[in-house]
């Protein structure tokens, strides 16, 4: 060990005698290792970013949308076909063993929320059941979730995301505040933990979540489905609400009345915009999809050969596609990097061969004063390895620099990788040994007399 350190130091000193040549020789390695590092860091960064957005959506997520999937899967059933009901959601939960949790979601059209003199339009306001928090694996940072009872009673409660909390309440605690949404007072009972932006770049924390019953029956005609003709009645009744904004005392009986009047109808005809389901595990996703499909065929009376009136999207699939794209790109770039490492290695070999020829006399002399073939071999091998290691270190610096620049100027996510650094140090030492071996071996096989006589 000590011996090797000494040999490496001697090699370093030998290389120092010709700094420029050493630097140019190792350039290929610098570029090779630099690109490996940069690739790995950028690749890891985007993979991690993709994974993070996928998991922020909820684990093993399946989304059921109303309407048939358009060809190419670009547009999904528009709001015009309202075929999913809360009953479907319940049935999925009860009858599909591979589904762990289910939540129906009613999306409300952009709705302004007001607190005191502040107002804000969350990018998403959804009515759902208490199970959504389980499906999306979304914790509260303060307060509590609403309950099944709140859903049953269409309680005027809501949870807000971090962005909404920030916009309406600033630094004040959000829990317990009353906010108004289309003249309905809602009590904030919880604040959801931060999720960040989703795969499409939308801020998931810019959201208000409330019981779907509240959304449907108390806050009027704001489901995106409301645009459909079937909801005109609801829209009309919504109009009624708006005529009695007045005091909250006046609101309650009115709402209760509306609900009583609507309930028989609503339970049958209420539509939801989406059903979110969580499969029990990643492996059970295909099975869960099949179970849901079969169940909905039955419930919607769709016969074989008929077009589905719903479609199921598997979010992990989307994530996997994105991940595999990044992986392919990373692999391609790694191949480029590997080629440049080989080219760098050949450059090292070339210069080492020149160096051996140049130093034939030195080799002869060293042999004459007692160097064994192994000593000569080690000396030249050490020089090649030191060259490559130096190249590797400079490459690491270069690669880090590049990936930091990418992060700074292009805003791509970057994740520094210890593995990449360890691997590239090992690889550059390996390149040194591999391509330095032949010249070193040649040097060690010289005949001392001929080497001494060499001019």
């Amino acid at each position: 060990m000590m011996n090797w350190i000494r040999i490496l130091i001697a090699a370093f000193n030998a290389l120092r005698r010709n700094v420029l040549r050493s630097a140019l020789t190792t350039l290929g390695i610098v570029i090779g290792v630099g690109s490996v590092i940069a690739m790995m860091e950028v690749g890891n960064g985007s993979t991690a970013a993709v994974q993070q957005t996928i998991s922020s959506l909820g684990a093993n997520m399946l989304m059921v949308f109303p309407g048939a999937a358009a060809s190419g899967g670009i547009s999904f059933g528009s709001g015009s076909t309202m075929t999913l009901t809360p009953g479907d959601a319940e049935a999925i939960f009860k009858e599909c063993p591979s589904v762990r949790a289910v939540a129906p979601v009613v999306r409300m059209r952009t709705t302004q929320v007001v607190y005191g003199n502040r107002n804000w339009v969350p990018s998403e306001t959804s009515g759902t059941t208490e199970t959504i928090f389980d499906v999306r694996q979304w914790a509260v940072v303060s307060g509590a979730y609403f309950t099944a009872r709140d859903v049953r009673n269409a309680a005027c409660v809501c949870l807000v995301g971090q962005t909404v909390s920030q916009q309406l309440f600033g630094r004040e605690p959000a829990v317990g505040k009353q906010i108004r949404m289309q003249n309905v007072n809602l009590r904030v009972i919880g604040v959801l933990e931060k999720k960040g932006s989703n795969m499409m770049g939308r801020d998931q924390d810019d959201t208000v979540v409330l019981p779907w019953t509240t959304a449907k029956f108390r806050i009027s005609g704001n489901s995106s489905g409301g645009s459909g003709g079937s909801n005109t009645a609801a829209a009309a009744s919504a109009g009624n609400h708006k005529t009695y904004p007045g005091s909250s005392t006046g609101l309650y009986p009115a709402v209760a009345a509306t609900r009583a009047q609507n309930s028989a109808l609503s339970v049958r005809f209420v539509n939801v915009d989406q059903i979110m389901a969580s499969a029990a595990s990643a492996e059970e996703i295909p099975q869960a999809m099949e179970e849901i499909t079969n169940l909905l065929h039955e419930r919607h009376r769709i016969r074989a050969g008929e077009l589905d009136d719903f479609n199921i999207r598997d979010m992990t699939e989307v994530g996997n596609t994105m991940a595999s794209v990044t992986e392919t790109i990373t692999r391609l770039l790694m191949a480029v990097a590997a080629i440049s490492l080989v080219v760098g290695g050949v450059g090292i070999m070339n210069i080492m061969l020149v160096s051996v020829t140049e130093r034939t006399k030195e080799i002869g002399l060293r042999m004459a004063v007692g160097a064994k073939a192994g000593d000569i071999l080690r000396q030249f091998l050490a020089e090649a390895v030191v060259l490559c290691l130096f190249g590797g270190l400079m490459g690491i610096a270069l690669g880090r620099g590049c990936s930091l620049a990418v992060q700074e100027f292009l805003g791509w996510p970057v994740q520094n990788s210890v593995t990449a650094i360890v691997v590239s140090v090992a690889v550059s030492a390996g390149v040194g040994i591999l391509f330095g071996f032949y010249p070193a071996w040649k040097a060690s096989r010289l005949d001392p007399i001929e080497a001494l006589r060499y001019e």
């Binding site: 001697a10 002399l365 004459a368 004063v369 007692g370 160097a371 073939a373 001392p448 001494l452």
Partner: protein, 234 residues
């Protein structure tokens, strides 16, 4: 026991079609403490004999005993160690490493010894030797900053750094002028007399040969004459 004993050494170079016999049966004994000049016409095989004695080349036939041990048929690694420990070499063209300080040159053979020598001790030994050859103030100089005589003295210090019993010098004064020749020769004489170093040197210079205690003359691959200076055969 003789330091060196050569018994009927021959050396034949195989040049494809022709075989060139350069040494044709050399028998020679060298005792400890001798100071021998090897002379002879150019091409008579002096350098070839020196290479054989220096364990750089193997004889085609014959035995070579160094301190009573047959060495010509030992492994390359064993012979490398013999070169390192038992003998020092001085060459006509000095053979110093370019862009390397005198001190580093002298320390170089210490790296190839059997046991590792601490850097400090190695440096001390090299400094002492350089001081001994009169280069105490030139330790950091590289060969290009030294005169021919100084370079040869660095080479001499390098040859002696492992305290070998035996010094081989192929035309050590061949590239030196007459003044430095005298200097270097005086150094050899002192090493031989004071330290008991056995010296075998090749020379074309009759004055150098005259300074040695014994003169061996070669002709055409054979020893023609072998005499002590003063006329007595050994």
């Amino acid at each position: 026991m003789n330091l060196i004993e050569l018994r009927n050494i021959t050396k034949t170079f195989d040049l494809g079609e022709v075989k060139l016999q350069v040494l044709k049966g050399i028998t020679l004994a060298v005792a400890h403490g001798e100071f021998i000049a090897l002379t002879g016409a150019s091409g008579s095989g002096k350098s070839t004999l020196m290479n054989t004695i220096g364990c750089l080349d193997r004889p085609t036939t014959g035995d070579y005993l160094l301190e009573g041990v047959e060495v010509s048929r030992q492994s390359s690694n064993a012979r490398a160690l013999i070169r390192n420990q038992k003998m020092g070499f001085v060459f006509q063209n000095f053979n110093l490493l370019a862009r390397t300080s005198a001190l580093a040159q002298v320390m170089m053979p210490l790296a190839y010894g059997e046991r590792h020598i601490q850097r400090k001790e190695a440096q001390k030994r090299a400094e002492a030797l350089l001081a001994r050859v009169g280069l105490a103030d030139r330790m950091d100089h590289t060969p290009s900053q030294l005169s021919g005589g100084q370079q040869q003295r660095v080479a001499l210090a390098r040859a002696l750094v492992n305290n070998p019993p035996f010094l081989l010098a192929d035309e050590p004064t061949g590239n030196l002028d007459s003044k430095t020749t005298v200097e270097v020769l005086e150094m050899f004489r002192q090493l031989n007399e004071k330290d008991g170093l056995t010296i075998l040197l090749v020379t074309h210079d009759p004055k150098v040969a005259a300074a040695c205690k014994r003169v061996v003359k070669m002709t055409d691959g054979l020893i023609e004459s072998d005499a002590m200076n003063g006329g007595n055969a050994p």
